[in-house]
Each structure stands twice: as C-alpha cells, then as structure tokens.
Symmetry: C2
Subunit: 188 residues, 2 copies
Amino acid sequence: MDNRATLLEQALQLFAQRGYDAIGVQEIVEHAGVTKPTLYHYFGSKRGVLEALINERLQPLIDQLANATTHANDVPASLAAIFQLYFDFAQAEPLLYRMQLAMWFSLPDNEAFQIVAVAAAQQQALLESFFVRASSFHGNIRGRQRVYAATLLGTINTYIGLWLSGAIQATPHIIHQAVQQFSYGIYS
Amino acid sequence: MDNRATLLEQALQLFAQRGYDAIGVQEIVEHAGVTKPTLYHYFGSKRGVLEALINERLQPLIDQLANATTHANDVPASLAAIFQLYFDFAQAEPLLYRMQLAMWFSLPDNEAFQIVAVAAAQQQALLESFFVRASSFHGNIRGRQRVYAATLLGTINTYIGLWLSGAIQATPHIIHQAVQQFSYGIYS
DNA sequence: TTCTCTCTATACTCATCGGTATAGAGAAAG
DNA sequence: CTTTCTCTATACCGATGAGTATAGAGAGAA
C-alpha cells in the first residue's frame, strides 16, 4: 500500500507543476520508483490516478463546506467561516488546491476538467443551498443563488490565487476584507 | 495567406475547446484542410501557432487597456471603462478570451502558461501603473498596486467567466455592480 | 507442501507526438 | 524559356503516448 501512496504523491507533484495533459504515465512511475503495471494495478488508468487524488484528498474540503453551509441565520459569520475554511485547506494542501484550480479553469472538453467538475459542482451546489437558506433572512438574495455562489467561489479563488503566488499573506485582516468585498455585491 | 488565417482560426477553436496540451499539430492541420509542412512554414512550431494567436488577436485588448489606464483623475470612471473594455473584448472574442483565461490559470511550468504569461504581465503592469497614478488622489492605494491590480483582474475574470458560462448577462447594471464590488475592496 | 491471491517487473502493443527531408506546383521576374 | 521564390504535399524520423500480456515473487491458508 506504500507504493499506492507514493504514486499519488508524485502524480500530484507533477500534475500541479506542469498540468495533467503534459504529464505521462511513464514519468509518474519513474518518480515513484515503480513500473507501469503497478500504477495500472492500483488505479486502472491515468484518469483513475487523478480521480483518486480528487476523491481522497479534496473530499475533506467538501465535507467541511457541507458543515459550514448548513446554517444561515448569521450570514456574515457563515461567509467568514467559509472563507476561513478555504484558506485553511489551501494552506494545508497547496499543491492540490493549485492543481484543482488550474483544472477548474481548464476547458469543458478537457479530460481533467471533467474529473474536477464533479467536485466543483458539489461545492457550487452546497453554496447555492446556503444562499437559498439565507434568502429567508435577506430577501434580495432570492433567485440569485447561482450567481452568488459562483461569485463567492470566484472571490475566494482570486484571493487564494494571490496567496499561492505570494502576493498576499493569509492574515485575518485579508480574510475580513475578502468577506466584506464579496458581501458588498450581495447587499447592494 | 488564406491558409495561415484558417490555421489560426482552427487552432483557436481546438485550443479553446480542449486545451493546448490536448491538441496535436496533426489535428489542427486536418481541421484546416492542409498538411503539416504548411503549418510549419507559417509558424515554425506548435508553440509558434499559439504565439501568433496571442500576439495578433490579444494585442487589441492590451492596446485599449494601455489607453484606458493613462489617466487616473477619475478613478471610478476609469474602473468602469476598464471593466467595459474587458467585457466588450470578451464578447467580441469569446473563444480567444476563454482560451487565454484557461492558460492564465494553468501551471507555471506549462508551456501554454509561459506564452500567455507575457500578455498577462503586460496587463498586470498597465493596471499597476494605473493604481500608482491613482494613489496621488487616494492615499490608501499607495504601495498596494500589485494586490489591487491582481484583485481587479480577478474580479473581472470572475464576472467574465460567469458570462462565458451563461450564468449572467453583460448588462450595464452587472458591470456597475462589478465595479462597485471591486471598489469596496479599495476604499475600505 | 501446495494452492491461491496480491502485487510488481520485463517486454511488448499500436497510435500519436512534434518535427522534417525532399520534391513538386505555380506564379513572378528576367 | 529559364530561373527563382513561395507555398504545399508525400512520406518519413525517433520519441513518447496510454495501456497490456505474461510471468514471477512473496505471503497466507489448506
């Protein structure tokens, strides 16, 4: 089972550096110090490697998000918690987050996009249901869940992208500012 | 010269749909109805095709941006003009903008990223110099040009991404909202 | 011991990758 | 009527793409 973990780790390293399409199976197994049949034994295909990576290591983020979006009585507090959750996750798994971000912005017909799209849709759905719940407290949210969820993710990813590239620090003040900036779009 | 234009058009079509890495030279020439030496005659390499695409079709955006960022006496008006300019360009060249966006978010060691990075750096630089100029009117901008330029591009791209996916229309009201949302981050 | 099951390596498949050597077609210039 | 230059096709290059057939090594169970 050690080879399996090593393969996943090396694949993440390579995918996050040069992209899914640019990496060959041969390259992954060489970095992991094994041979191709070992990879195909555990994952079945190159696609299977990426799916395992997403399913196993991105799942905690989605679980936490599901938790943070169940209550919407205090919208600003929930928004702050959601931002914090994403920042914490990106700090714990910077390579994974960078890879997922690149794939999320890749094209619809691209294989990597289709794999990440499942996890992305889950996040979008959780946020939409959050805004639906919030709309019972804030009338002007009603009917705009989809746009709000998307702009929220967009704002979060803009800030995390800045942090990943070293342009900003992940201070409480920055998170507060990001929440405020997003909130302005809601209550206007 | 017709074959050259057809090659560029088909390459854009394919790159924007499945990504630079996922598309082979063979596929491009087949869609264009020519053979490989024709492509290599005009562009020298696969990379050359993408460079021609960026240099020739993305340049108008950068020229317009250079124009819109020269004056910073009226910051809100300039910001609105910049947003409008990006929206107009994305509407005129949706495929190109989608492709550029995907490559911008792809990984640093990826070939496509490195090609687009030049154009991206130009935009970033123009926006930074705009904020430097604006700082003589708004003191709290000083020293934060880099972050502001990056979050401005992030906000713009979030909204254009939403428009490209059909989630929002490009109405004057939406543009106004985007400007307001971004501005909140500045003056806070 | 022997049988089975999980895991991994050697060595291979065929398709596609980016790129090119060579040559011919056609137009313009002399 | 030949020379020259631009453009394009046929046919190829070695390298690499994803994926696999076969077999052996080692552990656990009988």
